[in-house]
Assembly symmetry: C2
Homo-oligomer: 392 residues x 2
């Protein structure tokens, strides 16, 4: 019945003549008299939040593609929607090309989930895929992605992992029945992933992917966005380019995986319209799967308590004794080495030294790397990338 | 409220003491006074069909895992359920580990679909995976699968593709909005897939998978179950063992893929309980997505009209002139060759001759192969396996 946007005159390929125009989305939410309000503005606060609140205040269902809004204010908005018996649907907010929100809420509703893992940002996956296929470096591929429109002019939200963390916070909340807690998701993006690490990963049987991963460890939620070494026989390693994927592990269903485009106008439209069809058909469900009032906060596993297997790589001057020094430091921190890879080279030249570390406490590895960096033969800051294992 | 089964005394790990017992499922459907009837009997006719009809007659929602029943009588049962405003839910009938029925009906409801493709039978996928990994022959692996419980004592329904065809008929109906037509799905199973073809496929960059594939070609439905050569860069080629996968291509969403366990008690229970939750929550939808009365039969593409790229392999005596004869026959039938592969060998020995054929009419290839088989230098019946291309 009505439309609001920043620019009224823009050619959108469809005529808006038959719809009321509002300069203010908030006013529209209050006054248009619509049954449902579709928010495609973006941003966790500001107009988007105000307009959605206004809509719910005025008996109007809300459909949104806004992951930041849901990740930060989802619990409050869901409570408001529930109290008013209104829908707050956001399928387009997480991987629009796959109905994963509906799968968690309905299709897999019989399950208790152990973990949820996803390639949640198409820009990062495109950059990592292109780096691997071409051997080019991060900045070079990012520049090209910006020219092609695959990355924003300000790419921070994508490449620093914030966008993926928004989506992971939403998925973890729905999978584990805990209130959404975006601030509890530690984030590392892909700026430091080098062409060298990608090429070494391939030699070792891995692909580097930016994953959002959340699991329950002894009843605590461990959620994090970071680059992972994914073994080539794990299905998610084959998800390339702008595609997103989500794998959930449920107690009855086992591993169930979903892959599709993450964003773009087609998949977003598909998800938004499916949300509207649910409303039109009267299928109104609690926005987060279970009513907000029934959700119980679970303890959080702090980063210091994370355990995993790790790949680490540093540049060393290839002189006698350096490996002995590195190995001794790791031993002193209780970290055990699964494999070592050092390229043959001319003596005294700088070469990459790669260590694959057994499952261990991340804080111990980090402490060891701080000491290793101080060795005179070590020429750069050691890189640390987690390896995906069967425990993830 | 009530249970019926063949064997009352069997230990099911749960006590049935608090439920009424019925020796007849039909009587139970009529007389138990339940809100919902769960049918896990199997078979397209007989007790399963009679009991579901009785349940719907007596205002009782139906949940079933029975693909044969839905593939053969789904339209009639759906019409009966719609008329009575009852649910007829069958998520467990197709790939219980992925909520693909709900995805087609709801999550992707905004799309018009171009194609649906799936690895729909876990037994076949397990056998093909094991043949590839071990180099063993079909019969040998089937025997083992039967011992391990991955294949039935009578494996016909699985290995001859009937089970996959039941599921494809259901998926095609829901994707294209046409009445289910199981008899319109030509079926070829995996009995004739040899260890040699699997190994040659790998050399050529393919894996052999039994696929159910349906697409719209000029408004006609082309649906078929057959072994395919799937290129290694197509995601479905990485789906191994007892896993199932379904990929749909929608006009807005693009390619959207789902992977999970096909059957087994956990995934089946997950799907059945999700169907029951939908009923309990009052989310009753037309069983096939759109009301049966609104479905329009689309013309069927007969097998003779199918086009595709093909792999063909026969054993030839390696004497001068045989390749010229084979190539001439193909040319005379208007079939063009993309690549030839003939192993080096001692002259006059029997060797496999592999031809990769460009996109062409299948009937022309079959006519050519009939003539090729008559050549004196050709020692066996040429095998024909379709190659998956971008057009599929």
């Amino acid at each position: 019945v009505a439309v609001s946007a920043r620019n009224r005159g823009k050619d959108r390929g469809v005529s808006l003549d038959n719809f009321a125009w509002f300069d203010s989305a908030e006013t529209m939410a209050r006054e248009a008299g619509a049954d449902a309000f579709v928010e495609l503005i973006g941003g966790s606060d500001g107009i988007a939040k105000a307009a959605c609140e206004q809509a719910l205040d005025h008996k109007c269902h809300v459909v949104t593609a806004n992951k930041a809004l849901i990740a930060v204010h989802g619990a409050a908005l869901a409570a408001q929607a529930e109290a008013a018996k209104l829908a707050l649907n956001f399928e387009a907010a997480v991987a629009g090309g796959i109905p994963i929100i509906k799968a968690l809420k309905e299709g897999l509703a019989a399950n208790t989930f152990k973990s949820v893992t996803g390639i949640l940002n198409g820009t990062c996956n495109y950059i990592l895929t292109t780096m691997r296929e071409t051997g080019r470096d991060f900045q070079d591929v990012l520049d090209e992605a910006q020219k092609l429109g695959y990355a924003e002019a300000d790419p921070t939200f994508d490449i620093d992992g914030i966008d993926a963390a928004h989506k992971l916070a939403i998925l973890a909340s729905m999978a584990f029945g805990t209130p959404i807690d975006f601030d509890a998701v530690p984030v590392e993006g892909i700026r430091h992933v080098s062409a060298l690490d990608i090429s070494l990963a391939e030699t070792l049987g891995y692909k580097i992917k930016l994953l959002g991963h959340a699991r329950l460890v002894d009843g605590a939620v461990e959620a994090r966005v970071q680059p992972y070494m994914v073994p080539l026989n794990v299905p998610i390693s084959n998800v390339e380019g702008v595609y997103n994927a989500v794998t959930v592990e449920g107690d009855f269903v086992g591993r169930s995986s979903y892959e599709g485009r993450g964003a773009g106008e087609g998949p977003t439209a598909s998800a938004v319209v499916a949300d509207l069809i649910d409303i039109a058909a009267g299928r109104i469900t609690p926005p987060l799967g279970m009513p907000v009032a029934q959700m119980a906060a679970k303890p959080l596993q702090p980063v210091d308590g994370h355990t995993g297997a790790y790949y680490t790589r540093c540049t060393v001057q290839d002189c006698p004794g350096v490996l002995a020094d590195v190995a001794a430091i790791l031993r002193d921190h209780g970290v055990s080495i699964e494999a070592v890879r050092q390229e043959n080279s001319v003596e005294n030249a700088d070469v990459p030294l790669v260590l694959i570390l057994h499952e261990t406490q991340e804080k111990n590895v980090r402490a060891a790397l701080t000491d290793i960096e101080k060795l005179p033969a070590v020429k750069d800051t050691p890189r640390l990338i987690r390896i995906m294992t069967a425990a993830d």
